[in-house]
């Protein structure tokens, strides 16, 4: 997107998010009395830190606990143990509306994450109204519409779609709408849970570029949840590889891809089919 003035926000030293020994156990219930017989340790004691302006990726295969971690960070799930600190403040002590102004989430499936009965204007406008009300003062309708249009421009959509419905848009456009909704709260950190995995290759590239543009122009930080290691290598600054609820390796993109330490990471990297034809026999 060319409309955005880039002021190249570099990664700073300030820690925006600190996760300490985070745990989430899901009970396994049996029988008529729903006796708890065991626990699934979806996230089993993970710790990491994200600097302001950084794109931090959590990667791993299905069931490794990466999406659970994403949900814990925005408190769609409550942790069993451990702490999540936003600028040093425990997020469990924040009110939900406060947290929503700091951390937002973008989901994988742009079809399921937008209410089909609401217009685009309402979907984004609702978030805009929350934000304006939180800032204090009376909010009028025109202000909301103006702000909504501005957000649509930011994510590369035309501003005359306020009265249209989600089904009128393609996957890529819907993902842009989801991003606009997240931006409406003016968060500092965005958790992006598989933001491009349901999109086609040509559209995927547009959204990846958009995420980078927004990072630069708004000074955002991202937690990227992804399974596609090519996307992760392109987009992120630092990576944590998860396996069975634990982080098995973490480091900068260069470190993890070029000097892989853990055998699991190695097997993951080796499994990606590279887009280079093999020499014919």
């Amino acid at each position: 997107m060319s409309g955005i003035v880039s002021n190249q926000q570099p990664v700073t030293d300030a820690t925006i998010l600190k996760v300490e020994d985070l745990k989430k156990y899901f009970p396994v219930e049996r029988g008529v009395f729903r006796r708890i017989v065991d626990y699934v340790r979806a996230v089993d004691g993970i710790s990491f830190e994200i600097k302001k302006g950084e794109i931090f990726a959590l990667v791993g295969e299905s069931g490794c606990g990466k999406t659970t971690t994403a949900k814990l960070i925005v408190r769609l799930l409550e942790a069993t143990g451990g702490k999540i600190l936003f600028y040093g403040k425990d997020i469990s002590s924040l009110r939900r509306t406060e947290l929503a102004r700091k951390i937002q989430i973008i989901f994988q499936d742009p079809f399921a994450s937008l209410n089909p009965r609401l217009t685009i204007g309402t979907i984004i406008g609702e978030a805009v109204r929350h934000r304006l009300e939180a800032a204090g003062g009376k909010v009028n309708g025109r202000e909301i519409v103006e702000k909504t249009r501005e957000l649509l421009n930011k994510v590369g959509l035309p501003s005359n779609i306020l009265n249209e419905y989600p089904h009128q848009f393609s996957g890529g456009q819907r993902q842009r709408i989801g991003i606009a909704r997240a931006l409406a709260m003016e968060p500092e950190l965005i958790v992006a849970d598989e933001p491009v995995s349901s999109l086609d290759i040509s559209v995927q590239a547009q959204i990846l570029n958009l995420l980078l543009d927004l990072r630069d122009s708004l000074g955002l930080s991202y937690v990227l949840i992804a399974h596609d290691l090519n996307v992760v290598r392109f987009l992120s600054d630092r990576i944590a590889v998860m396996y069975r609820g634990r982080i098995v390796e973490t480091g900068s993109v260069e470190m993890v891809y070029e000097h892989t330490g853990h055998p699991y990471t190695k097997s993951l990297l080796e499994a990606i089919p590279t887009a280079e034809p093999q020499p014919t026999e």
């Binding site: 290759i201 990846l208 290691l229 392109f234 887009a275």
Partner: protein, 335 residues
């Protein structure tokens, strides 16, 4: 060496009917599959690649759509005009198919062994005794490298992982000793490490059994690793067809070039100081709605090298270099 054409699709057009609208899903599609070849069909969602797979086996529900024109030849024999009874001898028998999602393809209430037995009973002429059947089922499960085939035989689909379920699907597909295997996104639902195993298995079986394979995928990485030839589809037609290395190293259609450029993996590795400026070369716009395709070349609204002549008329496929076909009037120009 002249290789035998096992499967030929000639100028196939398929339409779907939805809400009073005619949706052209395939427009003038031709592919040729040679014996022992792995042909890749690659494209984005809605480009018609799955419709192509289904039409080859006449699996498109009659109420929803139909083949408007074209031919499908299996070893020279026309499939579209065959009676249902005769078609059954080819479908599943000579041409098998595996789908993207193994869990929805398997019946959840029957044991895996029974589901393989069903296919054996349908496609084998001789009546097998229970003992023989069991032996064959175990052999098939061993063929697809299933650990503990005897236990798997008695398992229900939900007791198996996605990768194991796909192995069972492959076993069922191979139970009739087919000559052609159509694999429609066989690994899309699987994790990368499992994907690697399944693709390795398919390649190995293809060589061992002399199969000819049509591999449908959206993943260029998979194409590069497994296919000898590739057809790139866009908006219901083939826009480029060539050997895998030609497609990757000298693509001629602007769409193919755009797709390859937008892959994060093909991005030049940048130094740490440059990382702030990293961006992908994306194709602008989006895939057109199949019910309202643009005029002329279907890619022209998104094409970086579009000229006036692209808009009125859709170009045909032209052979620009030997065995390298492109649907673009500007292909071959020095751009």
């Amino acid at each position: 060496m002249v290789m035998e054409n096992v499967l030929e699709v000639k100028n196939l057009s398929v339409e779907f009917y939805k809400g009073g609208k005619v949706i052209p899903a395939l427009r003038d599609v031709s592919i040729t599959l040679k014996k022992n070849e792995v042909l890749g069909i690659v494209g984005e969602s809605g480009c018609g690649k799955s419709t192509l797979a289904l039409s080859i086996l006449k699996l498109i529900p009659e109420r929803e759509g139909k083949v408007v024109s074209g031919k499908i030849l299996f070893k020279g024999e026309e499939l579209l005009s065959l009676s249902d009874k005769k078609l059954l001898k080819v479908r599943g028998d000579k041409i098998s198919i595996i789908f993207q999602d193994p869990f929805t393809s398997l019946n959840p209430v029957f044991r895996v062994g029974n589901q393989i037995a069903e296919s054996l009973a349908l496609h084998r002429k001789e009546n097998l005794s229970t003992h023989q059947k069991e032996k064959e089922i175990i052999e098939l499960l061993e063929l697809v490298k299933m650990p503990k085939p005897k236990d798997t035989m008695l398992a229900y689909p939900h007791q198996l992982s996605g990768g194991m379920q796909q192995r069972v699907m492959i076993a069922i597909a191979l139970s009739s000793n087919p000559e052609v295997l159509i694999a429609d996104e066989p690994t899309t639902a699987l994790d990368v490490t499992i994907q690697k195993e399944i693709l390795g298995l398919l390649t190995e079986l293809q060589k061992k059994l002399g199969l000819s394979v049509v591999l449908i995928t959206h993943d260029f990485g998979i194409v590069a690793q497994t296919c000898q030839r590739v057809s790139v589809m866009y908006a219901g037609s083939i826009v480029e067809e060539a050997s895998t290395s030609e497609i990757f190293y000298s693509p001629l259609h602007p769409y193919t070039r755009g797709l390859l450029d937008s892959l994060p993996s093909r991005e030049e590795p940048v130094g740490f100081s440059q990382r702030e400026k990293r961006r992908l070369k994306a194709i602008s716009g989006q895939v057109p709605d199949p019910s309202s395709l643009p005029s002329g070349c279907k890619f022209h609204p998104r094409c970086p090298i579009v000229i006036e002549k692209c808009k009125p008329e859709e170009p045909g496929l032209r052979e620009i270099v030997e065995n390298h076909w492109v649907r673009c009037i500007r292909a071959g120009e020095v751009v």
